[in-house]
Every structure is written in C-alpha cells, then in structure tokens.
Subunit: 366 residues, 2 copies
C-alpha cells in the first residue's frame, strides 16, 4: 500500500500548490499549521515552518527535531535547523529574496502576534493572506491516505471489540476509558486523535462528556465516542450499548438515530451539496418530532485532523466530492435521561459512498 | 483542599483583570484561549468565548456544552448559549454597548482571520491588542492550583512505579507507552497533558521521540517523559533507566545530567532571573564539555497547560517569583548512542524552592 507520504505524492502536492501560487501571483507561501506542514513535507514534529517557493521548499525546525526531520522530509525539501528561533531563520532566508516579494500566509493559522512579528522581522516582503490553500488539497484523500484512515477505523473497531469483552456494570466511566485507551494503543494506534467520550446513564445526554467518576449501572445507556490514529490519520466512531435488556424508550431512541444515520449515509455521493446529507438525517428526525434534540451538525471531514474540511452542515451548500472522507454522526439527547449518537466514517466515491469498517451499529445489550 | 476553581478565587481573578482593564482604559476584554477561559470562569469545554466587562462577565458557548457550562461557571458569570456561532452572539451582545467602546483581545490567541471577523461583525467596537493579561495572572499559582499540580505529580509517580513493575526487555516502546498511559489513567489522571515520550537505546538521543515499534533490549537506556492531569492541571516528569547493569558511559552521562538538574534546582528562588537557573545547569555541563549536547532550554512553567510562562531560558532575564511552578529538565544527547534527560517539577517559594513529589532521580537498573 502506498504510504501517502512518499516522494511522488509529495511532488504532486507541491505542484498543485505552486500552480495556485502562480495563479494568485504569489512568490512564496508560508505554511505554519502543523498538519499542513506534515501533508506537504512529511515532517510530523510540532515545531516547524515550511516555505514553499516556485523552485524550492524549505523546512525550518529546531535542534530537538533535527534527526526526525532528516528521516521524514526526503530530498525534495531542504532543511534548516534554526539556532535562534524559527522566525529568525525564516527572516534570514527571506532577506535573500528581492524586496517586495509577495509571500502568502494562512490567516486562520497565523495569530495576530505572529503576523506582526513576520512584518517586523521580514519587512522587505509583502505579506498576503492566502486562505486554506493546503486545507483544500487535504479534502481529497489519495489511496495512501485512505489506506491509513481505513486502518485507523480497523484499529478502533478491534479496540472496541476488546473493550466490550471487559466492561460490565460497576465500572466507572474513567475505568472504562482507561481500558478503551489501552486497547486502542495495543491495537496499533499512535497518539489518540481525541480524548474518548465515555458517558453512562443520563450523562449520555451530554454530547461532549469527558469520562468521569460515575459508575455505570444495570439499565444504563453507555455511549463511547473514540478514534485511533495510524500514520498520522484519524478515525472517529461512536457506538451505544445498554447494560441489560434495552428499555422501550432506549430502543426507540436508538432506532431513530440509526435510521437517521443510514439515511444520511445513503444520500452521500459525489456532487451532492453537504447540506442535503445533513438534511437527510435532520428531516427524518424532524418527522419523529426529535429535530430540536439534534443540536449539532451531521458530520465533518477527517484526515490528519479529526475535524477538518468539509463540514456536513445544514448551511454548507458546497458539494461533497469523490475522495472526501467524512463522519456521519446524528444524535438525539434527552436531558436527564440519556442520549444516543451513532457515528460512521464514510468515503465519498464517484457513484456513491463506502462506509469504512465492518462493525455493526445495532444497539448492543451487554 | 481548595479546588482553585471556587467562587472566591474566581472573584479575585476577575478583580485583578478588571484593575488592568481600568489601567489600560479598556472597556472590556475578550478571552478566547481555552485555558485562559477555564482559569477565569471554570468552564472547561473546548468551544467558548468569555467577555469580561467592569460589571459583568459573560461566557458564550454552544448547545453541546450547555449543561456542563451551567455546572461549571457559577453565579458570577452569565451564560449565553449561541444558536448561530459564538461570534454572532458576541456581536449581538457588543451591539448593546456605546459605539467606540474599546475591547481588548489577545493577539497571541487570536488568528488574523478571527480578528477580521471580529471587526466585520462587531464594527462599532475598537479592537485593541492586550497581550498576556490572563497568562500573567496564571504564572502565580494559588494554594488550590498548587494542590492540583502536586496531586498530578503524585499520580504520575504512582503510574511510573506501577509501570516499572511491568516493563522488561523484549517490549516495544509502543507497548511500554500503552502500559504507562493505562497506569496514568487508572491512577487518576484526566486527559493526558501530552503524548508520553518512550525512547529506548539510541532513540533516547532524540529529545522528542514518540514511542515507536523499536523493541527495548538488554543494555539499552530507556527514557520516559510523561505527565498526568488532575483538575485540569499538569505534571511533567522525565526518568531514565537501563535494562541490566549500567555501562560506565551510561552512568557518567546520567550523573552529569542529574548533577546539572540538582544545581539548577538549588539555584532557583524568588527573585532570581530565570536565565541564571538555566546557567546553573548549562555552565556545569559546559565544564564537562557537554554544553553543545544540551540544545534545549532548562525548563518551562506548568499549570493548566504543560508549556506556559515563565520560561527557564538562557535569554529570559525576568525573575522567577514565589508561586511560579516550573520544570527543571536538563538533557544531554549523544547521536547514535543515547541520551539522558532528568525532569523535576518545582514550586518557587520566598526563601527558595520545593521539589514536588517524592521519587528519586537516580539511575534505575532493571
């Protein structure tokens, strides 16, 4: 399987970005958001700046990452180990350019303070905001990237199965979380993409509940929202179970959300506006009188970040396209009682879509 | 023990901040960095904005965090649940102020894009950069905060002891990391402050090595850099061991770094410039001809973030003051062979300093 980080992929990404620079008459682009740097260069450290010019790409990092960077970036990118701060090295490099060179920066990833510093230290350049140039490339996954995401889904499913065999009433959310995290790491996950949500009983009605001291009891709903990271790429799944036989209201809630999830997935395909996929879930829940209990959007892109473009949102009218990988995760929350969210990871294809992984979303009775 | 998040503490923090606003003739301050929001309001969710005005403090968050926010913020802060984005709700609130009100924002925590959005949506306000107003308050820990950090050190030490009993040659770095992470969570850590570093053999010479597939062998150095989080507050420790009897070069390296660490700790006290604490470690390693193998700074503040002010850096001439909590973590790295870093967490006191925790930094032979 192609790693998605190989020199060919990297060359083609650099080419796409340089085409955009050329179109916008920009002489260089400063990439500062770490996932963007990783996508363009392969470098996975947390301290770096990447300057992309027409004939050259330069990664600035520091002493701590020298050996790692040499192993990761390959030959198409030259490496500068900054001894006195990345901005100083960047300024030195830019001072070699003719005055008045137009250098793009990402306004969403650059703080007001850093922009002032850039202007102060690299004052002969003209700093132009260029929005989402790398983020846009990242929305279309190539086969290597998709392979990593599929593997991350598989690792999450393996860990979930392992954890299912261990959890029982009387365990606290924190204990369940510790077991799930351990299983994710042993199954092959790198640093987790996010702190798993483990919410039992009425706490399952909190869409973003961190695991707490509450002890899960017989009859409780238990919601797990978790993911793995493989080769830098994330998965993101949500499953719901009940300790003991499900009560009718739990079963009804689960069936409604599961059907909403299936309808949204079935609607997804190359060319459909993202808001229509959101509507497929939202309208169905609306028919059941549950729309006001579904307060978040239907999904989001996943890749090197666990939340990235495109959004599957009621006001996002841009179309999904082949190669997008998104979550579909409707949820219904009844305060004081409990909530159900079901989340799948889906790749958009020319004629439709494919759900990643093999695990069922049926209500699990433990 | 005071939780550090109680209403009294919060009132006194609001008062300190309002004094600064008054001095700078600012009518309100927008707090957007999540740890700053948590410090000022108690709210620990990831989506929020906090507007502090002379007579009022308002937290803007969304549907997902409503119940959590109501439980966390208490009565001194009013809550707005945004239905259409936090900026829209903020703009509505600011439109009630007289035109020309001066509102501060943190230039280090506000992106160029967000600043443009603020100006577009809340155009009747004058937006003024106000640097580090909350970060500065956060450098002085009160007894409740110190209690959380001490507990986080204790949890990390308990987990380390537990892990020491399990690790042996033949385990991969990833397996050791999975065990360490599990032990941290079971011992009582919340979401980990950072991905632990587990580096064996020559990989210990990489200051920021993520755990990889390498299997630890007899004779290897093994470096663990890890921390816990309790009540939101972080600990950060580094310990080094060797599988089997230490070879002379390993023992010498460890002794040099341990002595550098002790000297830096012994030099720390209220009023000493941070660069002098850095120099205490650096000069000693220099006498041994190892200064060029110590490429990072000696330490950093810890609190709600694992890296925060103050820095213990060779060019930081501001003094440490009582209530600062910093790491002291010299390291020496020999490429291709191995490295040693030893890290302690230290609270600065009026007459000196106190090392948190009770575990030894001696070289451990397993």
């Amino acid at each position: 399987m192609n790693s998605g980080q190989g020199p060919d992929r990297r060359e083609s990404r650099l080419r796409s970005l340089r085409d955009r620079l050329h179109d916008e008459r920009i002489d260089g682009l400063l990439v500062s958001h770490p996932p963007d740097i990783r996508y363009m260069s392969g470098f996975s450290g947390s301290s770096g700046l990447l300057l992309i010019e027409p004939g050259l790409a330069t990664l600035f990092t520091d002493f701590r990452y020298e050996e790692q960077a040499r192993g990761e970036v390959g030959e198409s990118i030259s490496l500068v180990i900054a001894s006195d701060g990345l901005f100083d090295s960047l300024a030195e490099r830019l001072s070699e350019r003719p005055p008045g060179s137009r250098i793009g920066f990402d306004p969403a990833a650059t703080s007001v303070q850093d922009r002032s510093e850039l202007e102060r230290r690299c004052g002969t350049a003209i700093w132009d905001p260029v929005s989402g140039a790398v983020a846009e490339l990242r929305t279309i996954k190539d086969p290597g990237e998709l392979g990593h995401i599929e593997k991350a889904v598989q690792v999450a499913e393996t860990a979930f199965d392992e954890t299912l065999g261990r959890i029982r009433p009387g365990m606290s959310e924190q204990e369940i979380a510790a077991d799930l995290i351990h299983a994710l790491r042993i199954a092959g996950s790198g640093p987790l993409p996010f702190e798993p949500i483990v919410a039992s009983g009425p706490r399952s009605a909190l869409p973003h509940a961190f695991p707490g001291p509450r002890v899960a009891e017989r009859g409780d709903l238990l919601l797990l929202d978790f993911g793995a990271r493989v080769g830098g790429y994330c998965s993101d799944l949500t499953r719901v179970m009940v300790f003991g036989p499900a009560q009718p209201w739990q079963r009804d809630l689960h069936e409604a959300v599961n059907e909403a999830c299936l309808r949204a997935i079935a609607s997804a395909r190359d060319g459909i506006p993202a808001c229509e996929v959101d509507a497929a879930a939202r309208d169905f829940l609306g028919e059941l009188g549950l729309a006001d209990r579904f307060g978040h959007s239907t999904g989001h892109g996943i890749g090197l970040e666990v939340h990235e473009a495109p959004r599957v949102h009621k006001r996002e009218d841009r179309p999904l396209v082949a190669g997008n990988v998104v979550t579909i995760e409707p949820g219904v929350y009844v305060p004081g009682r409990g909530g159900v969210r079901i989340e799948q990871d889906v790749v958009i294809e020319a004629g439709g879509r494919r759900t990643l992984g093999r695990s069922s979303t049926n209500l699990i009775e433990l």
